[in-house]
């Protein structure tokens, strides 16, 4: 405890805490009173995955690439009416089941990346906690509802050569 000639650090330290107190009182705190005030996450935030069902061809790529094995897809083939009158009926895949188990999901985003048909999107929505862990299994209706919350993709910083993607509708 050598007291130096300059102001001892202990006294300067008191100044720091006092200054912070005054700042908090006059300029407000850094925290947000959560249920009353909500911070807006950035558009890229990986909150929850939304499914645009029309684009999904049940190709199983996401389910196969998922590191946690938390995507369950079932589909069947059916004959869709031909595009032009008189043409052959087309074989199409219909999606019967698309579940994501958020209690297993590790939010890595690989499924969104590998989707070749732009059927999966990230949304920054984060308020979907449940009292029962089984309720964290979101089915395709629930995942479809998240589509409304998908934000527009952001513009890129200068010097970028990346192309801006579009959210369907």
């Amino acid at each position: 405890m050598a007291i130096k000639i300059k102001i001892p650090g202990m006294i300067k330290g008191l100044g720091i805490t006092f200054g912070t107190m005054v700042r908090t009182l006059t300029k407000g705190s850094h925290t947000v009173q959560y249920p009353h005030v909500k911070e807006a996450p950035t558009p890229r935030a990986r909150g929850v995955i939304a499914l645009h069902e029309e684009n999904c061809t049940s190709c199983m790529l996401c389910a196969r690439e998922c590191p946690d094995w938390c995507i369950y897809i079932e589909g069947h083939k059916y004959k869709a009416p031909p595009r032009r009158p008189g043409g052959k009926p087309r074989k199409k895949n219909a999606l019967d089941r698309f579940d994501i188990d958020y209690s297993l999901c590790m939010y890595c985003g690989i499924c969104v990346d590998v989707c070749p048909f732009e059927a999966l999107f990230w949304t920054p929505e984060y308020e979907y906690s449940e009292l029962k862990i089984s309720n964290l299994l979101h089915d395709k209706n629930q995942l479809g509802k998240w589509m409304e919350t998908v934000p527009e993709f952001e513009d890129y910083e200068k010097g970028s050569e990346a192309k801006k993607a579009q959210v369907p509708e």
Binding site: T57, S58, C59, M60, A63, R64, E65, C66, W69, C70, I71, Y72, I73, E74, G75, H76, K77, Y78, K79, R90, K91, K92, N93
Partner: protein, 216 residues
């Protein structure tokens, strides 16, 4: 990686000198060596010369920094990626032929250790073949005290015995755990108790072959 290219000639000289020193000190015990210009250096020694190699590198080559020590199990996994694993199909398939990496190998287990010279910034990877049935090797603790925990980890994960280690108890695993989890023939249960969701495919139309995949 432009930095590496410009620094390459000097680093190569350093790495070649290292190999030369080792050859001189170890003689026949240095089985193989490989220098990747400006990138890295591998040597393979016999397991008898394991401690001696460390001593030479530490005392003569300035390799004062102990980086890590581990084991490679070269047996191809009998389970693959476990993607086709089913709950009711736990039997492993016959493992294929072993292929070894850089500097080759003869046995299933191979020691892998890395040392570093913190002054000249050259690293070296050292390998040594281990006996298949009773993998045993001398401990590095006398040379690098930091090898203590690494050897305990290797011992519990691969079942390698380190002669001269004062406290070769389990480091991570609970005391009653049986088996050596990092061996390739040790099944990863998490992947075997649940079928892979990607295994199912789209149900074909009734009465049709499913040769056409994507139709849209």
């Amino acid at each position: 990686m432009t930095e590496e290219e410009t620094a390459a000639p000097e680093a190569d000289a350093a790495r070649d000198a290292l190999v030369a020193t080792l050859t001189e000190a170890l003689g026949d015990n240095l089985v193989a060596s490989e220098v990747k210009a400006g990138v890295d250096l591998w040597v393979r020694v016999t397991s008898q010369a394991w401690v001696e190699t460390a001593q030479v590198l530490r005392n003569q080559c300035g390799m004062k920094y102990f980086n890590f020590l581990s084991v490679i199990d070269w047996l191809p996994s009998p389970f693959g990626r476990d993607m086709d694993a089913q709950v009711d199909q736990p039997d492993p398939v016959e493992p294929g032929e072993m292929t070894w990496g850089i500097t080759g190998g003869q046995t299933r287990f191979q020691m892998l250790a890395r040392l570093h010279d913190p002054v000249n910034h050259v690293g070296i990877n050292i390998k040594a073949d281990l006996d298949d049935d009773q993998p045993t090797i001398d401990s590095w603790i006398t040379v690098y005290p930091g090898a203590n925990w690494h050897e305990r980890e290797a011992a519990e994960m691969f079942g390698v015995h380190f002669t001269g280690h004062p406290n070769l108890t389990k480091l991570y695993l609970p005391g009653a755990f049986e088996g050596n989890p990092m061996r390739k023939d040790f099944p990863l249960l998490a992947r075997r108790v649940k079928p892979w969701p990607g295994l199912v495919d789209v149900e074909p139309l009734p009465g049709e072959d499913d040769d056409e995949t994507e139709a849209s």
